[in-house]
C-alpha cells in the first residue's frame, strides 16, 4: 500500500514537472510551422520521402540555434490525401499559433484556399493546386513556390524544341496525362503553344488510377508516332508509362515527364535505371546528395551516431521537402529581420515570403524571385535525365514562354 502511494506521488510529481516544463518551453522563443503530409493515403509514395526531408532541414536549423534565435516547432498532420483532415489540420495549426501552413495535395489546397485568406494564414502549395495561384493579387495568401503545371508544360515544350533541333514546326508532340483536374490543367497552355510553335499536339488521357495505359501507348507508338512525348502522371502511373513506352519501342530519350513522374522511385518501379536510360524529368528542386545542405544534415545525423536517412535514396522528393522547409525558414527569417527580432505573425511571414530573392541553398533552390504579384517565383525548372544508372543534370535552371503564361494568368477571371 505504502509503495503504491509513493508511486502515485512520483507520477503526480512527474506530471506536474511535465506541465511546468511545457509551460517553460512555450515561453522560449519559438515559432510554429504547420505542415500537412500524406504518409498513408493515395500519394504516400511521395509523402514518405518528402516530409522527412522537411523535418530534417528544420532539425538542422534547430541544432544550429534556430532562425535568428527562434526555435522551430513543426506540427505535422497526416491528411491521408482526404479533405476533412486537411480542414482539421488548418484549425489545429491556428490553435497552435502557427505562422504558416504547408499544404499537401491538390483537393486539399482547393478546399483551404478561401480559409487561408479569411484567416490571413500563409499557405504554400509547391507542386499542388491551381496554376492561377501564381497571381499574388488574386490569391494573396497562397504561394505555389514551385513551377506551376502551366510553367512546367511550357518548359517541357521548350525542352522538346531544343532536343528536336531548335524548331517544332511540323513536328508532332503527344501529351499523356492523368485524367483529373491537375492532369488537364496544362492543356490550354499546350494548345496555345502548339499554335505559336506550329506543332501538332494530340492528347492521351489515362483514367484513374492510372495503372493501365496499354491502349493509349499503342495509340501513341502505333498511330500518332510523335516526335516527342510529354507525360504528366501521378502515383504509380509514371512507372507504368515508362514500362509501356519502353515495351512498345518508343525511345525514352524523347520523353519528358513533369514533376510528379520524375523520381528515382518511379524509375526503379519501372524496372530500374538501365531500362529507363534516356528518360527525361522536370524538377523544381535540385536532385542528388551533392549539396552542402544534405551534407550538413548527414553530419547532424553522424553526430547523433546515426547514418544518413534512408529517405535520401529518393532524393527527388527528399530534396523537395528540404527546399520547402528552407523557403519556409527563409520567409520566417525575413519576417524576423523586418521586425528587428520581434515575434512575427503570419502576415509578417507572408511579407517575408514575398521578399525572397537570390536564395539558392547552394543550387538546390532555383533562382526564384517572389514578389507580391508573383507567388510562383518565375516558374524555374531543371531537366534531369537517366544516364549511366542515375539521374544526371541535363539543363540548368530555365524558364520558358513567360509571356504566354502571363497571358493565361491574366485571362483567369
Amino acid at each position: 500500500m505504502r509503495s503504491g502511494t509513493n508511486w502515485l506521488r512520483a507520477a503526480a510529481a512527474a506530471g506536474a514537472m511535465a506541465i511546468a516544463g511545457s509551460a517553460a518551453l512555450a515561453q522560449e522563443k519559438e515559432l510554429v510551422f504547420g505542415v500537412q503530409c500524406d504518409r498513408t493515403g493515395a500519394t504516400q509514395t511521395v509523402g514518405v520521402f518528402l516530409c522527412p526531408g522537411y523535418h530534417d532541414y528544420i532539425a538542422l536549423l534547430n541544432s544550429k540555434g534556430g532562425i535568428e534565435g527562434y526555435k522551430i516547432r513543426v506540427v505535422e498532420i497526416d491528411n491521408e490525401y482526404k479533405v476533412p483532415p486537411a480542414m482539421e489540420a488548418h484549425e489545429r495549426f491556428k490553435k497552435e499559433g502557427a505562422v504558416l501552413h504547408g499544404l499537401y495535395g491538390t483537393p486539399q489546397t482547393a478546399a483551404l484556399t478561401k480559409k487561408l485568406e479569411e484567416d490571413k494564414m500563409l499557405g504554400t502549395s509547391p507542386g499542388f493546386g491551381t496554376a492561377a495561384a501564381s497571381d499574388g493579387k488574386r490569391y494573396p495568401y497562397l504561394f505555389p513556390l514551385a513551377a506551376s503545371y502551366w510553367s512546367q508544360a511550357a518548359a517541357a515544350v521548350e525542352f522538346a524544341k531544343k532536343q528536336l533541333g531548335g524548331s517544332l514546326k511540323g513536328k508532332k508532340i503527344g501529351y499523356l496525362y492523368f485524367d483529373n483536374p491537375a492532369g488537364k490543367e496544362p492543356l490550354e497552355v499546350l494548345e496555345d503553344l502548339a499554335k505559336l510553335e506550329g506543332f501538332e499536339m494530340r492528347t492521351f488521357a489515362v483514367p484513374s488510377p492510372g495503372v493501365e495505359m496499354g491502349a493509349q501507348v499503342i495509340d501513341i507508338t502505333g498511330r500518332f508516332k510523335p516526335d516527342f512525348v510529354i507525360t504528366h502522371l501521378f502515383g504509380r502511373s509514371p512507372s507504368v508509362s515508362i514500362k509501356e513506352l519502353k515495351g512498345k519501342g518508343y525511345p525514352l530519350s524523347r520523353v519528358v515527364a513533369m514533376v510528379w513522374g520524375a523520381s528515382e522511385a518511379d524509375i526503379k518501379a519501372a524496372g530500374g535505371f538501365a531500362l529507363a536510360e534516356g528518360y527525361h524529368t522536370l524538377q523544381f528542386a535540385g536532385v542528388g546528395s551533392d549539396f552542402q545542405v544534405i551534407k550538413d544534415i548527414n553530419e547532424m545525423y553522424k553526430a547523433q551516431g546515426k547514418g544518413p536517412p534512408s529517405q535520401q535514396e529518393t532524393s527527388v522528393f527528399y530534396n523537395r521537402g528540404v527546399m520547402i522547409a528552407a523557403l519556409h525558414a527563409e520567409a520566417a527569417r525575413n519576417a524576423i529581420k523586418a521586425k528587428a527580432g520581434g515575434r512575427p505573425d503570419s502576415v509578417d511571414v507572408k511579407n517575408g515570403m514575398e521578399s525572397i530573392k537570390g536564395f539558392t541553398l547552394g543550387g538546390m533552390v532555383p533562382p526564384m524571385e517572389l514578389t507580391p504579384l508573383d507567388h510562383e517565383g518565375g516558374g524555374w525548372v531543371q531537366v534531369w535525365s537517366v544516364k549511366g544508372g542515375k539521374l544526371t543534370k541535363t539543363t540548368d535552371w530555365f524558364q520558358a514562354y513567360r509571356d504566354v503564361i502571363r497571358k493565361h494568368l491574366a485571362a483567369v477571371n
Partner: protein, 355 residues
C-alpha cells in the same frame, strides 16, 4: 434516449406514437439542446468546433445512406457522387445566379434526389452485390461527367469557389457561425429521419428490406418505394454535399471520390444499420476517432521519438489502431455501436436487481 419505462403503460394511439414516451426523455432532449446550442459553442475552442462541424456534416450523409442501406436494404456505393451532384448544383446556382443558401441547399438536394433515383433504377431488377456494382458504376459515371463538362465543373480545375452563406445580411464564416449553421441542418435531418422511419413510408422501407416479395404481397408498391428510398437517401447526400461546399467555400469533385462512399458505408456499418442513433454514432466515430487517437498519441510519442520520426510513427500507428478498433467493436457487437449502446442500457434497466 437514455431512459426506459419499466413496462408498457400506453393506453392511447397518441401516446404510442409519441416521440418521447416518457417525460424524462423530454428533459434529456432539452438538456441536449442546451448542451449543443449553448454550452459547447461557448466553451470550446474553434479547433474542437471544427471537428464537431465535420461530424455534423458526416451525420447528415450517414443518415441518408442509412435510410437506403439500413432501412430499405438497398446498397449504394455511389453516395459520394450524389454529394458531388448536390455540391455542384448549389455552387453553380450560388455563383451563376447569385442565389442564397436557403434556395441552393434544397435545390442541391433535389437534383441529387433526381440523379439518385435514376442511378437507383437498376435496383428494380437486381439486388445485393449486383446492385453495389451498378451504383459503383453510377459513382464513376457521375465523376467522369463532372470532370469532363466545363458547364458543370466550371473549368479544367473542376472547382467552383462559393461565397459564404449569409443570413439577414450576416455572413456565416467562422467555425462558431458554421457550427450553428450545420447544427441546424443536422438536427433537422435527425428529426426528419426519426419521423420518416415511423411513418407509412418508413415502414414500407423496412418491409422491403425484410422480405420484398412479402412486402409486395401485402400491397406495397416496391418499385415506387425502392426509387423513393433512393431519392430520399440521395436528397440527404445532396444536402450533405451542399453543406460541405458552404463549409469549405468550394465545390470540388475530388472531395467526393469513391473512397468517401466507402467511408460512409463504414460509418453506418460501425454505427448500426437501420438506426438513427447508429448513423450518428458511426459518423462521429469515423470522423473523430482518428483525430482523438492522434491527439492521444502525440504526447506519448514525444517521449520516445524525435519530432521528425514522430509524425511517421503516429501516422502509421493511428491507421493500425483505427482498424483494430473497428474490428474490436464489430466483433464485440456485430450490429454496431447502436446495439452496443442498447445492450448497455438494457443491462442497467433493471440493475442492480437483474434477477
Amino acid at each position: 434516449m437514455f431512459h426506459r419505462e419499466s413496462g408498457v403503460y400506453k393506453t392511447t394511439y397518441a401516446s404510442d406514437m409519441a416521440l418521447y414516451p416518457l417525460p424524462v426523455a423530454r428533459w434529456t432532449v432539452a438538456s441536449f439542446i442546451v448542451l449543443f446550442a449553448a454550452i459547447l459553442p461557448l466553451s470550446l475552442h474553434d479547433y474542437y468546433l471544427s471537428i464537431i462541424n465535420l461530424s455534423l456534416i458526416a451525420i447528415v450523409g450517414a443518415l441518408g445512406l442509412n435510410i437506403l442501406t439500413g432501412y430499405t436494404g438497398q446498397i449504394s456505393v455511389g453516395h459520394a457522387a450524389f454529394m458531388s451532384v448536390g455540391a455542384y448544383t448549389a455552387a453553380n446556382l450560388a455563383v451563376k445566379l447569385g442565389l442564397p443558401f436557403w434556395v441552393t441547399l434544397p435545390a442541391g438536394g433535389l437534383m441529387a434526389a433526381l440523379i439518385g433515383a435514376i442511378v437507383g433504377m437498376p435496383s428494380l431488377r437486381i439486388k445485393g452485390l449486383y446492385l453495389a456494382i451498378a451504383t459503383l458504376a453510377g459513382q464513376l459515371i457521375i465523376e467522369w461527367v463532372i470532370n469532363h463538362t466545363p458547364a458543370i465543373s466550371g473549368g479544367a480545375q473542376a472547382s467552383i469557389q462559393v461565397p459564404r452563406p449569409t443570413l439577414w445580411g450576416y455572413e456565416i464564416r467562422t467555425q462558431g457561425h458554421l457550427y450553428f449553421f450545420l447544427l441546424f441542418f443536422a438536427a433537422l435531418a435527425i428529426l426528419a429521419t426519426l419521423n420518416l422511419v415511423r411513418s407509412r413510408i418508413g415502414r414500407a422501407f423496412v418491409a422491403i428490406r425484410d422480405q420484398d416479395i412479402a412486402a409486395e404481397i401485402i400491397g406495397i408498391n416496391i418499385y415506387r418505394y425502392k426509387l423513393l428510398a433512393f431519392a430520399i437517401s440521395s436528397f440527404y447526400a445532396g444536402v450533405c454535399g451542399v453543406l460541405y461546399t458552404y463549409y469549405l467555400g468550394i465545390a470540388n469533385y475530388e472531395q467526393f471520390q469513391i473512397g468517401v462512399s466507402i467511408d460512409y458505408l463504414a460509418m453506418i456499418i460501425i454505427g448500426g444499420l437501420g438506426s438513427v442513433l447508429g448513423s450518428i454514432l458511426g459518423a462521429v466515430f469515423v470522423t473523430m476517432l482518428p483525430i482523438v487517437l492522434r491527439l492521444a498519441m502525440e504526447p506519448l510519442a514525444g517521449l520516445f521519438f524525435t519530432a521528425g520520426e514522430m509524425s511517421s510513427v503516429i501516422a502509421s500507428t493511428r491507421l493500425v489502431l483505427f482498424g483494430a478498433l473497428i474490428i474490436f467493436f464489430l466483433v464485440v457487437e456485430p450490429e454496431g455501436l447502436n446495439r452496443l449502446w442498447r445492450n448497455i442500457r438494457n443491462y442497467f434497466r433493471v440493475w442492480p436487481f437483474s434477477y
